[in-house]
Amino acid sequence: MAIIMNIDVMLAKRKMQSKELAEKLDITPANLSILKTGKAKGIRFDTLEGICKILDCQPGDILEYVPDK
């Protein structure tokens, strides 16, 4: 997948654990892990909005395009 999510970087900056973010987003830790490891097929806008709100960031801070080689 060419789009990767850099949630771990923002979590470290905000000193927050994955479990806490999952609880605040109301998604399972397993689904958050799917997002972080790039196995997700897509992300809903309301989930993206929730991540940006909780981590106080912009979508561009957590979404990155890395072309497939």
Partner: protein, 171 residues
């Protein structure tokens, strides 16, 4: 929901039929193997009767020879017990809140494999050891039709399962 009501009703009905067939098979097998009081031979040992448990009422009859007992009697009871058990599993899949699941697909796959393979195998064995009747051929063909229908239903379920999995991966 109406479709859940039908699936639930059919599930319990097929479970009841499966239990009846399998209990009958167990009772008949026990009677034959251990020559219990439930087994009664008639016509100079040419025919048999099996009584209902704890009664003198005959409810199963047949020819008293090993190939009839094994292939035309006990095997049929066991196979139809399994048929209704597997059919019940298919209805169980339709009872679930989520229709396209790996378990649901597995139930359908087991059902179509059973209907495509076992009746034909039973027919071949019957043809070798006993006399093949037209009624039996018709029943085997009916099971093949059911198996083919279930095969296509399983293919739809597989596609649905793939779409469901992909949908679940949109977080």
């Amino acid at each position: 929901m109406p479709n859940h009501f039908f699936a639930k009703s059919l599930y319990y009905f097929t479970r009841l039929l499966a239990a009846l067939y399998l209990l009958t098979w167990a009772h008949a097998t026990t009677a034959m193997v251990f020559k219990t009081a439930a087994l009664h031979l008639t016509e100079n040992g040419e025919r048999f009767e099996i009584f209902l448990p704890f009664s003198q009422s005959a409810f199963l009859l047949g020819d008293y020879n090993w190939y009839y007992i094994v292939f035309d009697f006990l095997a049929i009871l066991l196979l139809y017990g399994l048929f209704f058990l597997l059919l019940g599993n298919v209805f169980y899949a339709f009872m679930q809140p989520k229709l396209f699941t790996a378990k649901g697909y597995a139930h359908l796959r087991n059902f179509y494999l059973f209907n495509l393979l076992l009746p034909v195998a039973a027919l071949i064995v019957t043809a070798i050891f006993s006399t093949m009747e037209m009624t039996v051929v018709v029943i085997v063909v009916l099971h093949l039709v059911i198996g083919i229908f279930a095969y296509f239903l399983a293919a739809i379920f597989k596609q649905g399962l793939n779409l469901q999995t992909e949908q679940d991966l949109i977080i």
